[in-house]
C-alpha cells in the first residue's frame, strides 16, 4: 500500500527513519519523499549531523577499585547477615526451649535470666566482707588467714608467729568455710590444750 508522505510526517518520524525503526513500506515512502523534497533533504542532513555529534558525550571510566569496593560491601553485608542470623537462631532456640519445655514465655525467661545474673553480680559487690587489715588501717596489706605451724603455736594463740598462710579467699561467699576448715585442720594437728583458733583479722 502506497502511503502519502508529506513534510510533516517526515519531521515527525525522522529519528525513527534514521534508526530504521519503521515498517519497511514507511521507510520506503519517507525515503522517496526526501528524494523529491529539497527542504526535507536538508532537514534529514541536519538531523543526521546531530545524531553523529551525540557520540561525543563520553562518560568517565569506573575507578580502578570499584569492583573491589562493591565486593567488600557485599562481604560486610554477609558478615552482618550471619551475625543477625546467629542471634536470631539463639533467640528462637531459647524461646523454643522456654516455651516448649518449661512453658515459660520469652519475656519472663529473659527477666529470670536477668535476675539470676544480677543476683550473682550483687553477691560479689555487696556480700563480700570489707577487707580487714592487720593494723586496722584501710589500704594496708591484703587480708590473709594465718595458719600457725605446730612448733610456733603459743598458748595465747599468737598468730603472728605463723608458719603457713592461706591466701585471700577468691570467693567471699565461702570465706567462713575456709576459716572453719583451717581451724579444724589446726585443732586436729595439735594436742588438746595447745590448740588455738585462727584469728579472723
Amino acid at each position: 500500500m502506497n502511503e502519502i508522505i508529506d513534510c510533516g510526517t517526515v519531521r515527525g518520524e525522522i529519528y525513527l527513519f534514521i534508526e530504521r525503526e519503521l515498517p519497511e513500506d514507511r521507510l520506503r515512502g519517507i525515503a522517496a519523499h526526501i528524494g523529491d523534497c529539497e527542504r526535507c533533504r536538508e532537514y534529514e542532513s541536519r538531523v543526521s549531523d546531530f545524531e553523529s555529534v551525540l557520540d561525543r558525550w563520553d562518560a568517565p571510566a569506573p575507578s580502578a577499585g570499584f569492583v573491589e569496593a562493591v565486593i567488600e560491601r557485599v562481604a560486610q553485608h554477609e558478615r552482618n547477615r550471619r551475625g543477625t542470623f546467629r542471634l536470631q537462631a539463639l533467640v528462637w532456640g531459647v524461646r523454643g526451649m522456654l516455651h516448649s519445655t518449661l512453658r515459660i514465655p520469652l519475656p519472663m525467661g529473659i527477666a529470670a535470666a536477668a535476675i539470676l545474673v544480677l543476683s550473682v553480680s550483687l553477691n560479689f559487690v555487696l556480700i563480700r566482707p570489707a577487707r580487714p587489715t592487720p593494723s586496722g588501717v584501710d589500704g594496708g596489706n591484703p587480708p590473709v588467714v594465718m595458719v600457725p605451724g605446730p612448733s610456733h603455736v603459743t598458748s595465747t594463740g599468737d598468730a603472728t608467729a605463723a608458719g603457713g598462710v592461706l591466701g585471700e579467699p577468691r570467693f567471699p561467699l565461702f570465706q567462713p568455710d575456709i576459716y572453719r576448715i583451717a581451724n579444724t585442720v589446726i585443732n586436729r594437728k595439735n594436742p588438746v590444750g595447745q590448740s588455738t583458733d585462727v584469728e579472723k583479722k
Partner: protein, 178 residues
C-alpha cells in the same frame, strides 16, 4: 561471591555511565556511590529475579538504575523540571565554546562538545532524559525502555523524539558553526 563479582565487572561500565548521564550532570561526585548502592541492592534482591518470566537481566538491572536515580534526584529535592523551566534557569553555568578553539576534529573540541551535550542533557526533564539515555547510549529497544519506565512504547518514542529536538535546539549554535 565470585559469580557476583563477575556480574559487577561486566556491568560496571554501562551502569556507571548511565548513572552519570542521568544524575551526573547535577551530582557528579555521587556517581560511584550510587553505583555501589545499586549493586548492593541488586545483590540483596537477586533471588527475586526470575529470568523465566521473559524479563532480561539487563532490563531488570537498568530498571533498578532508573529507580535509584529518580530516588536520588527526589532525595536531593531536585525538581524534575520541564524544558521551559530549564530555559529560564540561569543558575547552571552555560559553557561557551572558546573563541580560540582548535579546528574541528581535535580532541579538545570533542571534549568541549561532550561537556556541552552533557550539560544540555542535564537540563532535559528527567523522563525525556531517561528515555533518551537508555535509547541512545545503551541501545535498549523502545519496548524494553517502555517496560523499564512503566510506559507505553508510543510514549517512549515521543519522549525520545522530544528529547532530541530539545537537544538539537540547545546545540544549534554549535551545529551551525560546524
Amino acid at each position: 561471591m565470585a559469580a557476583f563479582a563477575e556480574i559487577v565487572r561486566f556491568y560496571q561500565s554501562p551502569v556507571l555511565s548511565t548513572i552519570y548521564r542521568l544524575v551526573g550532570g547535577h551530582f557528579p561526585e555521587d556517581v560511584e556511590d550510587l553505583g555501589q548502592d545499586l549493586f548492593m541492592k541488586i545483590y540483596r534482591s537477586l533471588d527475586r529475579f526470575d529470568g523465566e518470566r521473559g524479563v532480561k537481566f539487563s532490563t531488570w538491572l537498568f530498571t533498578s538504575v532508573k529507580n535509584l536515580c529518580y530516588d536520588h534526584l527526589r532525595k536531593k529535592r531536585l525538581p524534575l523540571e520541564s524544558i521551559d523551566a530549564c530555559r529560564d534557569d540561569d543558575r547552571a553555568p552555560r559553557r561557551q565554546l572558546p573563541d580560540d578553539a582548535p579546528e574541528p576534529g581535535t580532541e579538545v573540541l570533542f571534549r568541549e562538545l561532550g561537556d556541552r551535550i552533557g550539560h544540555s542533557v542535564a537540563r532535559l526533564p528527567v523522563e525525556q532524559r531517561t528515555a533518551f539515555v537508555l535509547r541512545e547510549y545503551q541501545s535498549f529497544s523502545y519496548d524494553e525502555i517502555a517496560r523499564m519506565t512503566d510506559s507505553s512504547v508510543g510514549t517512549v518514542k515521543s519522549r525520545v523524539f522530544r528529547a532530541k529536538e530539545n537537544l538539537r535546539s540547545m546545540l544549534t549554535d554549535y551545529l551551525q558553526a560546524r
